[in-house]
Amino acid sequence: MKLSIKEVEHVALLARLAMSEEEKEQFRAQLSSILEYADRINQLDTTAALPTYHVLPLQNVSRPDQRGATLTQEEVLQNAPDRDGSFFKVPRIL
């Protein structure tokens, strides 16, 4: 196995995903086999290659600093699961 249960738990926490014990074991097995397959890329020497983050030769895309159309506050809030007036409402943090 490429991944331990502990690593699965660590990644699940980073990704903010709650997981049952059964799911952890399932993800451990499936992610391990996918990573073993992906490991074939490490057979290749890529020291001379630069990374491609993006395929287009576009840099520092900017636009004129002009006011355009925007959504209204009501439109922005219409899909909020919970709100208080003009605010998004969240559970307590501490």
Binding site: A15, R16, L17, L31, I34, L35, R40, T46, T52, V90
Partner: protein, 514 residues
């Protein structure tokens, strides 16, 4: 031929000649939807009332002698990943089941301005992650050529709808093959444009450096016509390319003499179905007969494209899907009776309840590939490999005008056949993924049948060579006629109709949601 069998340009001609009204055409398409979508299950949301209203408006304008865009009044379907103002956009996910966007995607706005009559929102693998549409949180879509088979994915809803006559054409999206593979499996034309040719504004993001919107149509002329409508620079998408857009129909000459087509031997190796291989090889012989110079070539990093993609795409997805936090829009998990969640518990439960298994798998994979200690070995390594794959293509395009291959290694497979084995499902995209990594265009065009199921020929070209790809695809199609075949909507399996009806009944309620 029935109205629902016609292409968009044939319908446009009927409208122009005054032989039919848009209301009559839309009516025929909705009758077809009501007749067959219980079996095909392509639609998540049907927007009949809005469509008939648009159709009436267009008919009125035509009657007044207004000069309308060519495809005005022709119905069109949209993959449910494209934002539609006031019409829910689910992405095939519980997370967005009740999400109603306050704005239109640029491609939707462009089609709308051209008089498109939108029939509704089409099913897909959740957040476009999958190759069979079985990952939809709502129901699987079925292949109109054999209802026991998958339509491919992730744009399985659009592909099945077009193949079944439930939409004359549709827009899909393609991150690793999600337009081309379902187009191949459903016997229609599907084009993934050059990265940046079509705006991504309002396309719900999966992997931002790979995603593109493109046409899914019954023939190559429709493909060119729809591309004409959606291509072009958009200030709302900073990765949109500021390039001039030609009239793509001007490339449909039927003439391909002297064009050089490379055939990478690596795309005909292990894992390619013998029936698919035979049909594709016949198609290559046809291209040669038509005067193209078809030669074998080598794509040296072919075997690394799939693992490279399955590190880069999930890495980008894990970052993009961090926005589903139960705060701004979408699903929020509620604490058990009388209890109270703190913020962290709300996040964790919202995301684990709102996302399906494949989405979680890719978020986990991407988070791992980006995490401290693994970033260099996986993510950065994959980005360097992406450069080598681009270089392979650049070298090939010094020699060839286009590269040809099968679109999918297999014909349509049966529902459930691959759903428990993620890796075997990922292999469905082995021939389509290199195109997205390199940012180049690719088209799948119907090229025949194996055991009664459709096979697609994929053509790939240098950046912004859509015209050349359409030219080759058009000449091929005109000389073979496979695009005129229509799906029988039958089922080779048995004992499934009961389950199908139960699923359909469950869906009717959801359709009434906004």
């Amino acid at each position: 031929m029935e109205i629902y069998d016609l292409t968009a340009h044939e319908l446009a001609d009927l409208l122009r000649r005054g032989e039919m009204t848009s209301v009559e055409i839309a009516g025929a398409i909705f009758r077809r939807i009501h007749d067959v979508d219980g079996d095909v299950q392509a639609y998540v949301t049907i927007t009949e009332d809005q469509a008939m209203e648009t159709a009436r408006k267009i008919d009125g304008e035509r009657l007044q002698g207004r000069d309308l865009p060519y495809l005005a009044g022709v119905p069109a379907g949209l993959k449910d990943v494209l934002c539609t103002r006031g019409i829910r956009t689910t992405c095939g996910s519980r997370m967005l089941e009740h999400f109603v966007p306050p704005y239109d995607a640029t491609v939707v706005a462009k089609l709308s301005a051209s008089g498109a009559v939108f029939t509704g929102k089409l099913n897909m693998d959740e957040f476009a992650m999958g190759s069979s549409t079985e990952n939809s949180a709502f129901f699987p879509t079925r292949n109109p050529w054999d209802l026991g088979c998958v339509p491919g994915g992730s744009s399985g809803g659009p592909a099945a709808a077009v193949a079944a006559g439930e939409a004359p054409y549709a827009l899909g999206t393609d991150t690793g093959g999600s337009i081309r593979q379902p187009a191949s499996l459903c016997g229609i034309v599907g084009l993934k444009p050059t990265y940046g040719l079509v705006s991504r504004y309002g396309l719900v993001a999966f992997a931002s450096s790979l995603d593109q919107v493109g046409p899914m149509t019954k023939d190559v002329r429709d493909c060119a016509l729809v591309l004409n409508l959606i291509a072009g620079h958009d200030p709302l998408d900073s990765t949109s390319a500021p390039v001039p857009v030609p009239d793509y129909t001007s490339f449909l000459t039927g003439e391909i003499r002297g064009l050089r087509v490379g055939v990478p031997r690596e795309f005909f190796g292990d894992g390619l179905d013998a029936g698919v291989s035979a049909v594709v090889k016949d198609s290559l012989a046809k291209l040669a007969e038509l005067g193209a110079i078809v030669e074998e070539c080598s794509f040296s990093h072919a075997e690394y494209a799939l693992p490279c993609y399955y590190l880069i795409a999930p890495a980008e997805a894990s970052s993009n899907l961090a926005r589903y936090d139960g705060v701004h829009y979408g699903y929020r998990a509620m604490p058990p009776d009388g209890g109270e969640y703190d913020l962290m518990e709300m996040y964790m439960n919202t995301r684990s309840q709102g996302f399906g298994a494949e989405v979680k798998r890719r978020i986990m994979l991407g988070t791992y590939a980006l995490s401290s200690g693994y970033y260099d070995a996986y993510y950065l390594k994959a980005l360097k490999l992406r450069t080598l794959i681009r270089d392979d293509f650049s070298r090939l395009f010094e020699q060839f005008d286009a590269i040809a291959s099968p679109t999918s290694p297999t014909p349509p497979f049966r529902l459930g056949e691959k759903s428990n084995d993620p890796l075997s499902m990922y292999l469905s995209d082995v021939y389509t993924i290199p195109v997205n990594l390199a940012g180049i265009p690719g088209i799948s065009v119907p090229c025949g049948f194996t055991d009664g199921l459709p096979v697609g020929l994929q053509l790939m070209g240098p950046v912004f060579s859509e015209g050349t790809l359409l030219r080759i695809a058009y000449a091929f199609e005109q000389h073979t006629g496979h695009h005129r075949a229509r799906a029988p909507l039958g089922c080779s399996g048995s004992g499934e109709s009961g389950a199908r009806q139960a699923e359909t009944a469950g869906r009717q309620g959801r359709r009434d949601a906004p």
